[in-house]
Amino acid sequence: MGELLQHLLNAIILGGTYALLGIGLTLIFGIMRVVNFTHGELYAFGAYCMYALVMPLGFNFFASLLIAMALGALLGAFIEIVLLGRLRAADIDTTMLVMIGAWIIMQNTEQLVWSGVALSVRTPFPSEPLVLGPMSVSWGRLYVFVVALLLIAGTYLLVNRTKLGKAMRATFQDRDTAALMGIRIGRIHTATFAIGSALAAAAGALLGPVFVVAPTMGDLAAAKAFAVVILGGLGSVPGATVGGFILALAEELGAGYISSGYRDAMGFVLIILILLFRPTGLFARKERIG
């Protein structure tokens, strides 16, 4: 019983970060129709920013998170303007190829700059865990979870309560009509990509100190984000949130009760099952075939 409770707690904590990873990706797909293969690299970028700011430069741990997010947003805006700006009318395969190219460039640049050595970031949290009856959780992970929830809530508010969010939703529903209503589609795209990138960078900046910072860390994060987004339906922010928790639960239980070697396979197995039995995704209302 205690073991199960511990797994459930782990799943909730992990689910928060998966949801955070998924939301950035799903936002970009929903509004721009771009499958962002650089998502994992923006995550790694956030983690490296955190490392650079905290370790050699000696910045405050919490302020570094905000700076990493801001830098992530800037990098995202740069990618959008330079690579996608002229491809707004292109089909999805074309932008996908461009994003794969960008992914290869980013990952290998990281490898060149930082070399393949894994780096660790010092955290200000006490090393002994917080014990809750039969369960325990480390302070660092609890912090990650709380910040992830705050960022998810912030994204909801941004999308549903602000003028920018309204313009984003309008673009999502009908790009041409939105353009006719005077919305500058180009700016919405840049803003969306910047927000999605900032969220990815935030996830990296949060998780980098928990694990280690390495150039290939983005691949696994991207794989998880894709799984989360497929679970929830591409383009659905609530779907990605729930999908994050479902994936975390499947992984925790799978690793705990089946085999830890297949922990990372759980997401892909879930994807395949979902598409077998419910190809429209768990929450998507939109038709996904065709």
């Binding site: 990952q107 290998n108 497929i230 085999s259 997401g267 395949i272 996904r288 065709g290």
Partner: protein, 344 residues
């Protein structure tokens, strides 16, 4: 490519081992050839049916593992009490098994994955390759996991007393060339058949194709089976050439290499993957000659990929063909209609 041109090119390629004495260059040519076979099979899906499959390396890797395991023999527990064993078989049986098994996997994946299209299909195909990689990594009893399968035998064929071995590079080059020519003919026949026209129709407009009575799923599944089987054979060739196979064979970067080859050469053209394959088979060697670090080499790959999408979206072969046709068009003056590039 007309039939004569095809045979002339094959004959010219067949002379390569006679005048290329540098074994390193021959090695590059063999590996490039194997990847061209894989790229040709990917082109069937990507170019002719229009489905961007990013899991193609799964077929390549499954073919490699199947052929390696059949020729090495294996014994594995299915349940704690039940054990399945296979004595080592001749290599050609292994290659045949690779073709059959990857064809079957292609059938299953085609049935499953083509329930969805577009971005969903891409992510599903990507996930499939990743699952297969994780299985290869974790099912240590069968695959040796990260320890890799070693000393995989090379292909030998016996004709009553006389034995032909494909261990050395010149011999292997001919084997590769034979399989490549065979794959080319098979794909050319398929795309020029009724089934191939159905594939192109559904690439151009799926709803319209459906409305004129084309069984879309059937065409897609057929394309996947053929494509997977050819990729499986390419993987089997690769494994009997380098004679070791580990889970890294499933890395996404190999799929990317195949996609770049197809897109650069021109998707939906028979010659495209060959042209793209030759370029991207030899570009790494040129870069290596310039003493560039591997990361920088990949960065050049990424930049080339983006540049091609921007400046040569339809690929080299259609672009060259259009230049040739328009020049001829000027000679013959009016009445000559420029053919549309096959892919937008």
């Amino acid at each position: 490519m007309s039939r004569y041109v095809f045979w002339i090119i094959v004959a010219l390629l067949a002379t390569i081992p006679l005048w290329v004495t540098d074994y390193y260059l021959l090695h590059v040519a063999i590996v490039t050839g194997i990847f061209i076979i894989a790229a040709m099979s990917l082109n069937l899906l990507l170019g002719y049916t229009g489905q961007l499959s990013l899991g193609h390396v799964a077929f390549f890797g499954i073919g490699a593992y199947t052929s390696a395991l059949v020729s090495l023999g294996f014994s594995v527990h299915i349940a704690p009490e039940i054990m399945v064993s296979l004595a080592p078989q001749p290599v050609w049986v292994g290659i045949l098994c690779a073709a059959v098994l990857t064809g079957l996997v292609g059938y299953a994946i085609g049935k499953l994955a083509f329930r969805v299209r577009g971005a969903y299909f891409v992510i599903v195909s990507l996930s499939f390759a990743e699952v297969v990689r994780l299985i290869a990594l974790n099912w240590v009893e069968l695959t040796q996991g990260p320890m890799a399968l070693n000393s995989i035998p090379a292909l030998t064929l016996g004709f009553g007393g006389y034995e032909l071995s494909f261990l050395r590079k010149p011999q292997f080059f001919y084997l590769m060339l034979f399989i490549a020519a065979l794959s080319y003919i098979l794909i050319a026949r398929l795309v020029n058949s009724r089934a191939g026209r159905a594939m192109i129709a559904l690439r151009e407009n799926e709803s319209l194709a459906m409305s004129v009575g084309i069984d879309v799923t059937r065409s897609l599944v057929l394309a996947t089976i053929v494509s997977a089987a050819i990729a499986g054979v390419a993987g089997a060739l690769y494994t009997h050439y380098i004679r070791i196979v580990d889970p890294n064979i499933f890395l996404f970067i190999y799929t990317v290499t195949m996609v770049i080859m197809v897109v650069t050469g021109g998707k939906g053209t028979l010659a495209g993957p060959i042209v793209g394959g030759v370029i991207f088979g030899f570009v790494p060697e040129v870069l290596r000659g310039m003493q560039i670090r591997p990361e920088a080499q990949w960065i050049v790959y990424g930049i080339l990929m983006i540049a091609i999408v921007y400046f040569l979206p339809e690929g080299i072969v259609p672009a060259v063909r259009r230049v040739l046709v328009s020049r001829r068009g000027k000679q013959y003056a009016a009445g000559f209609k420029e053919p549309q590039a096959e892919n937008k």
